[in-house]
C-alpha cells in the first residue's frame, strides 16, 4: 500500500511525529461520540430502565394519582422532580457502570494504546448521556403537557429541556469518579446505593421538611431539582446562580478527583 519511504528521522535524533489536520481530529471526536451513542441506543439493558423508570413513575404519580393538593400543582411539581431523577441515571450509570466495566475488560487499555484523542473517550460518553437525558426530558414533557394537563410556555419548555440536558453533566462526573472506585460487575450495586437515597434526600419523591431540608444542599440532585422546579414555574428555594455554581462546582470536583485516580491507578 504505502510505498516504503526512507526515514532518516532516527539519524537526526528527532522523533517521527505524525501530525493530523484539525479537521480529522474533530472527526475522531465525532466518530467516538457516534459509537458511544449508537452502542447504548442498541443496548436495551441500559436504555429501558433508564428511560422507563422516570416515565412510569410519572404516569403513576403525576397522571393517575395527580391533581392539585394544598394549592400545589402535583403534575408540574413531579414533572420537574422526575426530570431531575431521570437525568441523574444516564450520567451515573452511563459513565460509572461503563467505565467500571471497561476498566475491567480491557477496552479502556486498548483505547489508551490507540491514538484516540485523549478527551474523546469522555466526550463520547458525555454525548451519549446528554442524548439519553434529552430523550427522558422530551418524554416527560410530552406526558405532562398532553396527558397531565400541565400548561407550560415555550420558554419554560426550553428551560426545563436545557436544565435536563446540561444537568446530566455533574452526574456524569460523579459516575466517572464512582467508575474509578469500583471495577466490573460491582458497579451497578454501588451506584444504586447512592442514586436512590440521594434522590430521596434531595426531595425528588416528595417535598422535604426540617433537618433533611436544611442539609439537602449537600446533594447535587437538590440543586438540579431547584433549577427544574424554577423552570416550570413552581416555587423553589435559593438563587438560580447559586444552584448553577453549586452544580458546576460538583462537576469540577468529581472530575478532578476522577482524573487523579485514573492517572494513578488506570
Amino acid at each position: 500500500m504505502t510505498p516504503h519511504r526512507l526515514d532518516l528521522s532516527v539519524l537526526s535524533e528527532r522523533p517521527a511525529y505524525a501530525e493530523m489536520p484539525r479537521r480529522r481530529v474533530l472527526r475522531a471526536y465525532l466518530e467516538e461520540a457516534r459509537g458511544e451513542v449508537l452502542r447504548y441506543l442498541r443496548s436495551p439493558g441500559f436504555l429501558l430502565p433508564t428511560i422507563l423508570f422516570p416515565v412510569v413513575f410519572y404516569v403513576m404519580f403525576g397522571i393517575l394519582m395527580g391533581g392539585k393538593r394544598g394549592g400545589l400543582d402535583i403534575a408540574a411539581y413531579l414533572l420537574a422532580s422526575y426530570t431531575s431523577f431521570g437525568v441523574m441515571a444516564p450520567g451515573l450509570f452511563g459513565f460509572g457502570v461503563s467505565l467500571a466495566l471497561e476498566r475491567d475488560n480491557g477496552l479502556l487499555v486498548l483505547k489508551r494504546a490507540l491514538p484516540m484523542p485523549p478527551a474523546a473517550y469522555l466526550l463520547g460518553k458525555m454525548a451519549m448521556a446528554m442524548v439519553v437525558a434529552a430523550a427522558i426530558v422530551s418524554l416527560l414533557l410530552l406526558l405532562a403537557t398532553q396527558a397531565a394537563g400541565v400548561v407550560l410556555s415555550a420558554a419554560q419548555v426550553a428551560r426545563l429541556f436545557a436544565v435536563g440536558v446540561l444537568g446530566v453533566l455533574p452526574f456524569s462526573a460523579m459516575g466517572l469518579l464512582l467508575g474509578t472506585l469500583v471495577r466490573g460487575q460491582g458497579a451497578p450495586a454501588l451506584i444504586n446505593m447512592l442514586y436512590l437515597p440521594m434522590a430521596f434526600l434531595s426531595g425528588l419523591w416528595f417535598p422535604l421538611k426540617g433537618t433533611l431540608l436544611d442539609i439537602a444542599w449537600i446533594w447535587p440532585s437538590y440543586h438540579l431539582n431547584q433549577l427544574a422546579q424554577d423552570a416550570v414555574g413552581m416555587p423553589s428555594r435559593g438563587a438560580t446562580v447559586a444552584h448553577v455554581l453549586a452544580l458546576g462546582g460538583f462537576a469540577l470536583g468529581f472530575l478532578l478527583l476522577a482524573a487523579r485516580r485514573l492517572r494513578r491507578h488506570g
Binding site: 528521522s9 517521527a16 511525529y17 465525532l30 459509537g35 452502542r39 486498548l110 490507540l114
Partner: protein, 304 residues
C-alpha cells in the same frame, strides 16, 4: 545490532517492578522496519509488560522506552502504530464496519473500511454486531482494527488464540503481506510454530530478562542438542548409559536419543548394530529449543 534500517521501537536497559515482582529486569530490544520480531516466553515472563512500555501504557522504573525516536505516550507517535491486545471486549452492539470506521478515525491517513476488511478477510462480517461473532471471528476483527490506520508498526499480542488452523493461516498470510509492505511487527505468541512461520527474529524472555535473541535458526543453533531416531536391536537401557546420550526414550518401534555429539553417537550406533535402520538425525524444533532456554536459569549463558 543498531543502525541497520530504521529503529521503530526500542527498549534500553528497561526495568519495571510491580510490588515484589520484577517484571522486566534490564531489557534491551530494537525493532526495525519491515521486520517481524517474535517475543516468546512463558506466562509472567514480561512480554505484556514490554509491549505496555512501548505503547506508553506503563512507565519504566529505569531505562528508556522509545517509539519512532520519542516518548510512546506522545499521541503523534502512536499514530504510526496499530494494536491488537490480548483481551479487549469491544462494544457488542456495534457492527464490525462501525468499529473499523471508529478506529480508523484516530489516524491521519487510514485505509478504507473495504480495504481493511479485505486484508483481514472479514468482508462478510461488516454488517454483523461484534457480540454475535465467534471468538475466532472477533480476533480477526481486532486484527482489522490494528491495521486500519495504515500503521508502520503493529503490536500483536497473542493474535491467533482461539482461531482454527485455517483462520490462523489466513492471518499469517495477512501478516506476511503487511511485513512485505514494510510494516514492522512485534508479535507475542504461545504458539511456537507461529514464531517459526513468521518471525525474522525471535526474542525469548524469561523472568524479566532476554535469554536469547536472534533468528529462528540461530535460536535453534544455540541449543547444541540434536535428536537421533533409529530402529535397532540394542536395548534402550544400555544405550541410555552411553556418554554420548543425554536422554533416551522409545517412540513406537524406534529409539529417540537426544545428544550434543550426533556424529559420535551415530558412529557408535552403527558400529554396535550393523543392522540398524530407519536412521534419522534432526535439529531440535523451536519448541524444544525454547523449553531448553527457559528451563534452568543457573546453566544459561549470558543474554546476547
Amino acid at each position: 545490532m543498531q543502525g541497520q534500517g530504521e529503529a521503530m521501537a526500542r527498549l534500553q536497559g528497561v526495568r519495571k517492578r510491580y510490588g515484589a515482582l520484577q517484571a522486566l529486569d534490564g531489557v534491551d530490544l530494537v525493532l526495525r522496519g519491515g521486520e517481524l520480531l517474535a517475543l516468546l516466553g512463558p506466562n509472567g515472563a514480561g512480554k505484556t509488560t514490554a509491549i505496555g512500555l512501548l505503547l506508553g501504557l506503563l512507565r519504566a522504573d529505569a531505562g528508556q522506552a522509545t517509539l519512532f525516536g520519542g516518548d510512546p505516550q506522545d499521541i503523534r507517535l502512536r499514530r504510526h502504530v496499530g494494536v491488537m491486545l490480548q483481551d479487549a471486549d469491544l462494544p457488542p452492539t456495534l457492527r464490525v464496519g462501525e468499529l473499523i470506521r471508529q478506529a480508523a478515525s484516530y489516524y491521519p491517513t487510514p485505509r478504507s473500511v473495504a480495504e481493511t476488511a479485505a486484508i483481514a478477510g472479514i468482508e462478510d462480517l461488516l454488517g454483523r454486531p461484534y457480540g454475535k461473532l465467534s471468538g475466532g471471528q472477533q480476533r480477526r476483527v481486532q486484527f482489522a482494527l490494528a491495521l486500519c490506520g495504515r500503521p508502520r508498526l503493529l503490536f500483536l499480542d497473542e493474535p491467533t488464540v482461539g482461531m482454527d488452523i485455517q483462520a490462523r493461516q489466513g492471518l499469517w498470510a495477512a501478516i506476511r503481506r503487511l511485513v512485505g509492505d514494510g510494516c514492522g511487527v512485534v508479535l507475542t505468541t504461545h504458539y511456537l510454530e507461529e514464531a517459526e512461520a513468521l518471525a525474522d527474529r525471535v526474542c525469548v524472555l524469561a523472568r524479566g530478562r532476554i535469554v536469547s535473541e536472534g533468528s529462528v535458526d540461530a535460536l535453534r543453533a544455540r541449543i547444541a542438542r540434536k535428536r537421533v531416531w533409529c530402529t535397532t536391536a540394542l536395548p534402550l537401557a544400555r544405550v541410555a548409559e552411553w556418554d554420548e546420550v543425554a536422554e533416551a526414550s522409545r517412540e513406537g518401534e524406534r529409539l529417540c536419543l537426544a545428544t550434543e555429539v550426533p556424529e559420535r553417537l551415530v558412529r557408535r550406533l552403527l558400529a554396535e548394530d550393523p543392522a540398524l535402520s530407519s536412521l534419522e538425525v534432526r535439529a531440535a524444533g523451536l519448541a524444544e529449543a525454547f523449553t531448553e532456554l527457559t528451563r534452568d536459569p543457573a546453566t544459561l549463558p549470558e543474554a546476547a
